[in-house]
Amino acid sequence: MTVAVSVRQLRKAFGPVRALDGIDLDVREGEFFGLLGPNGAGKTTLISILAGLTRADAGAVSVMGYDVVADYRQARRSLGVVPQELVFDPFFTVRETLRFQAGYFGLRKTDAWIDEILAKLGLTDKAHANMRSLSGGMKRRVLVGQALVHKPQVIVLDEPTAGVDVGLRQSLWAFVRELNQSGHTIILTTHYLEEAEELCGRIAMLKEGRVVALEEKQTLLHGYEGVTIRITAPAAPAAFAGKLVRREGDVLFFNLANYAELEQLLAAYRTGGIRFTDLALQEADLEDVFLRIMGRAS
């Protein structure tokens, strides 16, 4: 399979802070790729280097085979970025904003495609509205439109649903899924891990400028199989104190490796004479995996 984005030994420091410390990863063409990590992990720096907004100290990055420095024109034509911040030019209307963005890429007569984007993003009736008059969610949709207007093969969405209501989030994901199914490579960073779990095929986790996990989503989930148990009881058995991950009053949360350990936990409650009044099981999800990987990598 062709590589859409290639990152090799990428390093970037801001003063004493190493934002990226030797990143290596490939994103395959047509993939829905998740880039996860806590704040300050280096996700936005990596995206900025990919987009030519930041210059790397060392290493190489290419988009669709084009080096982002040496072949910057081709690399940027291949890439659409939805930035994290809600930015807009207050002088212009929605249609003008999209026309200009297409024009910067050398595209002319784009009105039919702009109409299609506006329809997909539910902005048709706002085409002639000034950007200032739009709500936050609508401005976010225009940002998505701006990233798509030059028909890039690779689309980067940097926290695209931050501050966006549920209805818009759903329609946005439906549109992005459609783009992915039509062959676009999608790179997503998000703080909503359930979104990444639902959408992404492969996931990279960054921490302190390093890749700490890079797997297929299913491999990640299965590789960190475990069971979270929620028990309502006055105390935890002494032998399982180390497995207690959270406590909310009488509600205790244990992370267990497997169901055999659950048997041992219940036995410990019996032999310790501690009565519990409620018990519930929870399968590992991406959030558990994320927390474990981030905890392990620290």
Binding site: L53, T54, R76, D89, E96, F100, G103, Y104
Partner: protein
């Protein structure tokens, strides 16, 4: 060179056109007020070019060129700093625009605004010009050349100021402590021959003086220094500043981290 820079040029032109009250009409009225006040108080009291040109006639080209210069600077500097501060500069940094294309679009748009405002000031002040003012307009191409080069220089300076400044305060400082004194001390309101020798000498280090003097030469065929010298100084300044700006854009100074 891709055609993307033409879109950026169009966007920059549309940007000032959409707020024409503020960007065109206001400076025309300001220049008109200068003309009314200075011409009424100084006509007949100040001798320029040994009395061969009346003060009001002398003042009109100075005011036109001052408006050209100030508005060219205002256009590129305010557009860039606003884009930097609001974050929408990203829309220009993401596309495949080269440093030369970004430079060309911003400077040409600045020239456009400078020349439109200058044209407006010229038309309005003509009402107050002495009879026969335009009868002797011996070198219109010199006037045009200095207007174009002057607005290009100030558009470039605006770009440098916009790249350097990180907040509106810094841009205002650049405008108030560099551009405004250099413009006002360039001979807009007087001929340098009316100054004491020390100030005459100092004026010759001010490139704005050569822009105004050369521009005025087109109207009267008279100037404080030979127009070819002015053209050399102004052309050299334009070239030097353009190279500095292109280098800043190439390095992404304060634009790309």
């Amino acid at each position: 060179m891709s055609s993307g820079w033409l879109t950026l040029l169009y966007k920059e032109l549309l940007r000032f056109w959409k707020v024409a009250f503020q960007t065109i009409l206001a400076p025309v009225i300001t220049a008109l007020l200068y003309l009314l006040i200075f011409s009424h108080t100084l006509e007949g009291r100040v001798s320029v070019y040994d009395g061969r040109v009346g003060y009001t006639a002398f003042l009109i080209p100075g005011l036109v060129m001052m408006s050209v210069l100030q508005n060219a600077f205002a256009n590129s500097s305010s557009s860039l700093i606003q884009s930097k501060i609001t974050g929408n500069l990203i829309f220009i940094l993401l596309p495949p625009l080269s440093p030369l294309e970004i430079f060309g679009a911003y400077v040409l748009a600045a020239m456009g605004r400078g020349l439109v405002v200058g044209g407006g000031v010229f038309l309005v002040t003509l009402w107050f010009a002495p009879p026969g003012f335009l009868a002797g307009f011996p070198h219109p191409f010199w006037t045009l050349a200095f207007a174009c080069l002057g607005s290009a220089i100030l558009g470039t300076l605006g770009l440098i100021a916009g790249i350097w400044a990180e907040k509106f305060d810094q841009l205002a400082a650049f405008q108030n402590f560099v551009i405004l004194p250099l413009t006002f001390l360039s001979g807009v309101f007087y001929s340098i021959h009316s100054l004491p020798p020390f100030w005459q000498g100092l004026s010759r280090f001010n490139p704005f003086f050569y822009m105004i003097d050369g521009f005025r030469y087109g109207f009267f065929g008279l100037s404080d220094v030979p127009p070819a010298t002015s053209l050399l100084v102004v052309g050299g300044s334009a070239l030097g500043l353009s190279l500095v700006t292109l280098l800043l854009l190439q390095r992404g100074y304060k634009l790309r981290q």
